[in-house]
Symmetry: C2
Subunit: 206 residues, 2 copies
């Protein structure tokens, strides 16, 4: 099985190369927005020729889908780590933590404004990216829905809530507040405060 | 004052031309998104030469700012007309109508998806457009804040609400739900339903 022993490191190298290209894409996108990223520029940023990059990604769209999935995987890992670290916490605290992860308002998030806004535009134009964005939105709603149901059962949220609707409202509000923050119409503090007001309203009156 | 008599019709002609160009810009933007609109294409759509268009708008940004202000003025007029038509209505009904104007989910709104998303990107890249978008967001919040305060005084909304925060929450939620609708993650019916759930929560329990 010598060919197999050969194949494994090559495969790893292939994946590493693609990850390196995805990282280069995000560096270019942070400065210019995803919509202005070209294969040529990403190749230059990754320190390879255009021909070599096209060996890993045939089209700009292939590269974009991989880079978005790569970034999303990292975000999911961050949320998962945060949830693990909160193992002993009650469901409402966990829900709050997930919601605040959806509202990144630090300097790093400010730098990512162009990426966030331009991603929506790419998703509107590319069927695979749009499909991916819809799936991601559904997965996020599903995650929140479960946490809301748990918090209701634990008597930490109003038991008359509709978990599915509340999850969709949380995603919508987080998206809109984030847009206001990126536009400069809301400060970081105000963005978080507004979400706290919304969350407080879902609590069971003690 | 012959020069003055001369000047008036010319001025009118100038404004009409600029309005015609703005309309041509929106037709191009509906198909391609604002970010891909060029002076050359708008000139072609408006049936004039590039040089003639540049007589009215020196730069792409000038044209963009005028077109956005023109569209916004039409939207404000639509809301004002709707509010006039509801002269006798109570403040909560008026508030609800304004909020629903912020959530256009018909076929026409679906066609405007690219414009909506690409406008945010243009606003992130152009200082005058960003400033304009921030001012518009503040004006909208101010309008809602007043209606919320009136509805609270009329005993139609919970008197313990903070009108400023509730106005910002309504704008944020409308922006986020609209983004979900444009992305195809929310149906038109669900988008409106979710806003109704939010509004119902602000009502004074009877």
């Amino acid at each position: 099985m010598y060919w197999y022993g050969e194949w494994v490191p090559r495969r790893v190298d292939h994946d590493e190369r693609r990850t390196g290209i995805a990282r280069a894409l995000w560096r270019v996108a942070e400065a210019k927005g995803l919509d202005r990223v070209s294969l040529r520029e990403v190749a230059a940023e990754a320190g390879m020729s255009l021909g070599r990059l096209q060996h890993y990604f045939g089209t700009r769209e292939d590269m974009m889908v991989f880079a978005v999935e790569f970034m999303n995987k990292r975000n999911v890992e961050r949320v998962a780590e945060r949830m693990l670290a909160m193992g002993g916490q009650d469901p409402l605290t966990r829900l709050r933590a997930i919601v605040m992860e959806m509202l990144p308002v630090d300097a790093r998030a400010q730098a990512g404004s162009l990426i966030n806004v331009s991603f929506l535009l790419e998703a509107a134009r590319s069927e695979p990216l749009g499909e991916y964005a819809r799936k991601r939105a559904l997965a996020l709603r599903g995650l929140l829905e479960g946490q809301i149901a748990l918090a209701m059962r634990a008597g930490r949220l109003d038991p008359r809530l509709d978990p599915e609707a509340e999850a969709a409202l949380l995603v919508g509000l987080a998206d809109g507040l984030r847009a206001g923050f990126h536009l400069g119409a809301l400060t970081a503090e105000r963005t978080v405060e507004l979400m706290e007001i919304h969350l407080a309203r879902l609590n069971t009156p003690v």
